[in-house]
Amino acid sequence: MTEAPRFLRPVTGTANVGMAVTFDTPLALDCGRSLAPFTAAYMTYGTLNASKSNAILICHALTGDQFVASEHPLTGKPGWWITMVGPGKPIDTDRFFVICANVIGGCMGSTGPAEIDPSTQQPYGLHFPLVTIRDMVRAQKRLVEHLGIEKLLAVVGGSMGGMQALQWAASYPDCLRAVVPIACAARHSAQNIAFHEVGRQAIMADPDWRGGEYQLHGTRPSKGLAVARMAAHITYVSEMALQNKFGRALQNREALSFQFTPDFQIESYLHHQGASFVDRFDANSYLYITRAMDYFDLAEEHGGLLSEVFRVNAARFCIVSFSSDWLFPPVENKRIAHALNAVAAQVSFVEIHSDKGHDAFLLDEPEMFATVRGFLNHAASDLT
């Protein structure tokens, strides 16, 4: 019989988080530390062909996970991108072998702050090293090698997933044929860092956060994490979408209550967003992953010259942005296209007209589907 754990389990509990592989060789991180051993939890869809040339890696966003096209084990909800990925979908699992891995620092089975530190036999908490987008990509590269794939057909991702796709192109230009960064940027803006800091401060101000050691104390900073999610959620939608959906409509009442209970539907909606999030996400993971995004500046190591990042890049790029996305506005996406153009890389840039804001990439956007389908079909046209 095993001894009862002395601390709260990660949010995943005993749920089946899909496939997982643990690497003993240390993963050298940008912060100077290394991670060993580390686990990558992942899902695959479709079949890898004999020449191993039909693999597409999908990179998830801040609060996403490996369940891109299958039911989430904690929430029971369908995969987060079933409109894009599946049989007959733009990323067609009848043709392509799709891989999606939980990022390191995450909380769905890959090594992150809620997992056990082998050197202490306690949850890492804030002893987990700060990871970067590049570190996440390094871990994914290990996984892709483990699966026996030398060259990916494509790396596709939205938001933070788009950052990873760009980092893949920068770090491993010979290991991919096509890149689809959607609704992202080559660097996190001051405004974006500011919103992340609000979220982190909300988590750290929750007494149940306990200096990051909440698992040892048997608590969860659910209120702080919910506030972080609420604030972030506002940035994912456009002002017009919020206005059209909620306006000043009241929630289950005929008149204002003259109290601080949620009068407005928008308040109630945000509360729901916050409350449902804490059941599936770890607060420390939220701190680490937002930090990774803040640190992202692809051009930094090239003296700020983004085009230098992509010099001699044979991959094809298709950059997709949305007109009403104010978190990663089209102009930021277009900067990437111009940088690629400046070094004669093969790049297309699309600005899809949508009033849905940043989250448009997760929603029903037929033009996005048409763009991605056409691009990948052509990229795969000479597959053997």
Partner: protein, 206 residues
């Protein structure tokens, strides 16, 4: 698939293996033709979503954008040839656009409809209403063609922009093209300014 005659005439001006930017590339028919038959490194700029998607599905490198606002971001002399096909009359600032084209490319190919064409002149003279032709078939209030000009007007603009015409081709109603003497473009009698439905210019900075 055969190319529209005006596009075929432009294609003939492009040297194999060169770097080409097609501004207002539409569904990418010309660019794809150039990539396939002349092995060019082709890029496009296109404003309409459906056209951009068509280009992407052809495997072309196309940036969704607007000639009026986006050309400023392209560095000088990076393309061997820049193409502006049947687009200049729809731009906000034709002079600024032409200046950018001449800056970005070593050669610039421009095709445009001729508002001095005799059928257009006759239509205005006899009908007393803004002319509608097969190539300019819009009512005045709906037309995207906000800066129409005659071939002579366009030649004036190229000179003001410091460009010379390397070669020119007249476009007929039937879609055929005829090489013409650039010196005759401003001739107001039986020259192309009266007889051509449109023209294609190959320009370079003087």
């Amino acid at each position: 698939m055969s190319l529209r005659p005006d596009l075929a005439a432009i294609a003939d001006m492009i040297r194999p293996g060169s770097r080409v930017l097609d501004v207002g590339c539409g569904d990418g028919a010309l660019l794809e033709h150039l990539v396939r038959t002349k092995n060019v490194d082709g890029r496009g700029i296109e404003i309409a979503q459906a056209n951009v998607n068509a280009c992407v599905a052809r495997g072309l490198a196309v940036v969704q954008g607007d000639a009026d606002s986006d050309l400023v971001d392209y560095p000088a002399q990076v393309f061997d040839a820049v193409i502006l096909s049947q687009t200049i009359q729809a731009t906000e600032k034709p002079r600024a656009v032409l200046n950018h084209l001449l800056r970005i490319g070593r050669r610039t190919a421009v095709s445009l409809p001729n508002f001095g064409y005799w059928k257009v002149r006759l239509s205005l003279l006899t009908g007393g209403r803004m002319p509608r032709t097969s190539t300019l078939n819009y009512s005045w209030s709906e037309t995207p063609n906000i800066h129409l000009c005659t071939l002579a007007d366009f030649v004036d603009l190229t000179r003001e922009c410091g460009a010379t015409t390397v070669e020119a081709h007249a476009l007929s109603d039937k879609g055929t093209t005829t090489r013409i003497n650039p010196a005759r473009l401003t001739d107001n009698y039986m020259g192309p300014n009266l007889t051509a439905q449109g023209a294609i210019f190959l320009l370079k900075k003087s």
